[in-house]
């Protein structure tokens, strides 16, 4: 690679890493002010989450929904469609599977059952994106607000369903009937990791290839970079915007299926893992690049798992991870500023 091209790929990576480092730094200072042992906490994070096989396993398991959510965000954001409704679409997809899976278990072989559940989750997730999509295309309404509103509606709708119509009355806690162990996502042989991760990685890799070489990916890129040019080039931007939003929403729903079928085995009330904002930070730091998403997904999964662990053992409330994510988003945005300045200097030489 020529020097220019090398710099062009290294600088973004560097600034993403700096953003992460900055967030951890500020977080560490905050912990210290609060009287917590920041160094111990971070060490715990490193050793337990990265150094133990339990930690690594749990992290990889947590990668699955993040990969799927990121895949969805990748499609949307590349086309400049701001799908902030990931959380709602996730819940609706999860809820749909929570209803359907217990009924299908035992009635048909595992493989077709999983396929049907996956499709159900995808379709229902996508359905949750229909209204924002139509509002954007027909009325030019920015999808940021509409998708956020749909999030809250989804929370209440699924809460209503799990506490009412589809409740498993044999248990005290509000939840839908649980799916028998044999009818959940199978594990990768010799591990406790379910195949959701594999599905996620495959989808992300496929998307990466599609954006580099595919015509559909190229159309989305053009649309995201310059709507006017896309129209001029004959690309039907309205159709693509709807497609991008629906596919993105479907992916979020699929992520929901992953968690219900793979991790929890049921749809639980009062449950909202809120992978959406984590996904946002993830995808931006990875610069909307499919290949980079995979290692970043590992990192964020590690962060989520580590956060739970720090809460249990180091007495650091789980909210800390949210703080880090927020800081990472802001620092990422700021790092783009410095990046532009550096690249401009390089070009002048």
């Amino acid at each position: 690679m020529r020097r220019g091209a090398l710099i062009h790929s290294l600088v973004p990576l560097l600034s993403s890493l700096l953003a992460i480092f900055g967030a951890f730094l500020v977080g560490g200072v905050f912990l210290t002010i609060m009287g917590k042992d920041a160094k111990a906490a971070y060490m715990l994070l490193a050793t337990r989450a990265l150094g133990s096989s339990f930690g690594i396993t749990e992290t990889v398991i947590k990668m699955a929904p993040l990969l799927l959510v990121s895949a969805g965000l990748l499609i949307a954001l590349r086309a400049s469609v701001w799908n902030i409704g990931i959380d709602g679409q996730f819940l609706i997809g999860a809820g749909a599977v929570g209803v359907v899976a217990p009924r299908l278990a035992g009635v048909m072989p595992l493989f077709p059952m999983l396929i049907i559940c996956g499709l159900t989750a995808f379709v229902f997730g996508a359905l949750w994106g229909v209204i924002p999509a139509i509002l954007r295309v027909r009325y030019g309404l920015n999808e940021i607000i509409t998708t956020i509103m749909m999030n809250f509606v989804a929370i209440y709708v699924t809460s209503w369903l799990v506490k009412g119509l589809f409740r498993d009355t044999s248990v005290v806690a509000p939840q839908m009937p649980s799916i028998p162990k044999d009818w959940r996502l199978p594990h990768i042989p010799l591990t406790r990791i379910h195949v959701g991760v594999v599905v996620g990685i495959v989808i992300v890799l496929f998307l990466h290839f599609m954006f580099r070489r595919g015509t559909f990916g190229f159309s989305l890129n053009v649309m995201g970079l310059s709507r006017k040019a896309a129209v001029h080039a004959g690309i039907s931007v309205d159709r693509l915007a709807i497609l991008a939003l629906l596919l993105s929403a479907g992916m979020a729903g699929l992520a929901g299926a992953n968690d219900v079928l793979g991790v929890k085995g049921l749809f639980q009330g009062e449950w909202n893992p809120a992978y959406g904002f984590t996904g946002f930070a993830l995808v931006f730091l990875a610069r909307l690049n499919g290949l980079a998403i995979i290692p970043f997904a590992y990192f964020f999964a590690f962060l989520l798992f580590g956060g739970e662990m720090m809460a249990r053992t180091a007495g650091i409330p789980v909210f800390f991870v949210e703080m880090l994510e927020g800081l990472m988003l802001v620092f990422f945005a700021v790092s783009v500023y410095f990046e532009r300045a550096v690249l401009r200097k390089v070009v002048q030489e």
Binding site: N221, K228, V231, H232, A233
Partner: protein, 527 residues
């Protein structure tokens, strides 16, 4: 840029009052990466005088103006007002020192009223006294013989009127020197005359008017003094005595020689001898369409373009020309009527169908619409065709084929670029335009629609573009050429039409019409 020499009487000028305002530039040098835009330029601008900065696109006059206006800081050189050295760090400082600028792209806020725009930025605190401003505006307007309601929303005014508001803005702030950047490029011939009247009145008040243009005619019409710029250098000056005494013809030749010493002035030849049997390539029948805001943009357009023919469309910006182009290219829906290309109906079938039927479209908005600046040259080259073989198969793009195609375009049209995979945004405007032309022509269209194809280009590239269009027409292509520069239209077209308020008023054969008639039609004045 066309240098045409027409016989026209000079504007009548009034007696000028002596004025103390003097703006002097000494040794102004300004460099940008790869080019010296201004090279040691010195000149003197006196109040009570209309001083023209004349030069082609790329000569450095815009840069010089930006330096004088405070937009840019010179690398070397000094600016003096009435003998005292000044330096501006921003346009506002220049304005406060008495130098007001009317830019080519207006700096007005569209949804505010005239008086609000004039008053914007003048008061620091909270209070807003529109009444007083209105009174002052009324006085200024009557003095300059203008009349526009102060409460009118600026966005609703015509371009000519917006320009006048810009002038009022600058005078309201007490400017003694007024710089105007290519003010006539957006005006009809009659509006140009009206502008000149205003400038003469300003001159009579002792204001120093700096008129920046590439049009030799206008420079000779209005100036008291002409400074000629070329390639960043000040070539020379033609003073008031010469302008008053010498014959127009010889003046023009002298100035042209000053500007183009090394250039090869080739005339674009019109009319080929091949007859294409009057084959109608593009036909519009009672076509109407709306613009983006929902108002009627074009109504009942009916005309056809024959093979080998160039139809020039004149008109003030915003009278439906852009929408006409978009409609033929399939980019805009038609509400009424039909469009056929070589007898194939493409009405409301979209851009792909139009392209397939043989329409090529070179839009006027180069960077915003025609290309994606952050994508590579190659990606932009196939922007309209990437979904077709050989550029992609089974939804996967074939980079080898794309690269080969792009290299061909770069070679044939002499596009200066480090390679096919450099970011398009790094190319100069002229090279981007060449690539665009190459891109459209590569599809071998039957009909080519060009909207302002030479806008902002330097002379050589301009000539290249026009020559290319002419030779394509000579080989049978039908061309619709939209331009606001009458010289270009008269040079190249076989027939000339005028758009006004969305209607095609008349189409004349080139030989049977003159610029005055066209100019009047552009304003809707039917003869």
């Amino acid at each position: 840029m066309q240098i045409t020499i027409a016989e026209k009487p000079r504007m009548e000028t009034k007696e000028t009052k002596p004025s103390p305002s003097v703006l002097e530039a000494r040794g102004i040098t300004k460099r940008f990466p790869g080019v010296v835009a201004n090279d040691n330029i010195s000149l003197l601008i006196r109040g009570g005088e209309i001083h023209t900065l004349l030069g082609e696109n790329g000569a450095g006059k815009s840069t010089l103006m930006n330096v004088l206006a405070g937009m840019l800081q010179p690398d070397e050189g000094r600016i003096l007002i009435n003998g005292a050295e000044v330096s501006f760090k921003s346009p506002i400082e220049a304005l406060e020192q008495g130098i007001g600028t009317v830019y080519q792209h207006f700096t007005l806020v569209p949804n505010l009223s005239v008086v609000e725009n004039v008053v914007l930025g003048t008061s620091r605190g909270m209070t807003l006294d529109l009444k007083k401003a209105e009174e002052q505006l009324a006085i200024m307007q009557s003095h300059l013989d203008m009349a526009v309601s102060p409460h009118e929303e600026v966005g609703h005014l015509s371009i000519g009127w917006q320009q006048r508001v810009e002038i009022l803005k600058v005078l309201y702030r007490g400017s003694q020197i007024v710089l105007l950047d290519e003010p006539t490029s957006v005006l009809t011939p009659i509006e140009v005359k009206e502008l000149f009247q205003i400038l003469i009145r300003l001159k009579a008040d002792g204001v120093g008017v700096v008129f920046i243009t590439h049009k030799l005619d206008e420079a000779l019409d209005i100036s008291d003094r002409v400074t000629v710029l070329s390639r960043g250098k000040r070539i020379g000056e033609v003073g008031s005595h010469e302008l008053a005494r010498q014959e127009r013809e010889s003046l023009s030749r002298k100035i042209v020689r000053m500007m183009f010493e090394e250039c090869d002035l080739t005339e674009v030849h019109r009319k080929s001898t091949v007859d294409f049997e009057n084959q109608r390539m593009c036909r519009l029948n009672e076509v109407s369409a709306f613009d983006d805001r929902g108002t009627v943009a074009i109504r009942n357009l009916s005309f056809s373009i024959r093979a080998g023919e160039i139809i020039g469309i004149a008109g003030v910006d915003g009278n439906g020309q852009k929408e006409m182009a978009e409609v033929i290219a399939g980019q805009r829906r038609i509400s009424d009527g039909q469009i056929t290309i070589a007898n194939v109906d493409i009405t409301n079938k979209g851009t792909a169908a139009a392209a397939h039927a043989g329409v090529g479209y070179v839009t006027d908005d180069r960077l915003g619409e025609a290309v994606v600046p952050t994508l590579t040259v190659a990606e932009n080259a196939v922007l309209k065709v990437f979904q077709q073989t050989p550029f992609s198969r089974f939804a996967v793009m074939n980079h080898k084929a794309i690269e080969a195609h792009t290299r061909g375009l770069i070679r044939d049209f002499n596009v200066k670029t480090p390679g096919s995979w450099t970011k398009l945004g790094t190319l100069s405007g002229g090279n981007i335009q060449k690539l665009l032309l190459a891109r459209e022509l590569a599809l071998r269209p039957k009909v080519l629609v060009c909207n302002k194809p030479t806008h902002g280009l330097d002379f050589m590239t301009s000539q290249f573009v026009l020559q290319t269009i002419r030779s394509q027409a000579d080989e049978g292509m039908a061309v619709l050429l939209i331009s606001s520069e009458l010289e270009v239209l008269f040079e190249l077209s076989d027939r000339i039409g005028v758009m006004y308020r969305g209607q095609l008023l008349e189409i004349y054969s080139r030989d049977e019409v003159d610029r005055e008639t066209v100019g009047r039609l552009m304003l809707g004045i039917k003869s």
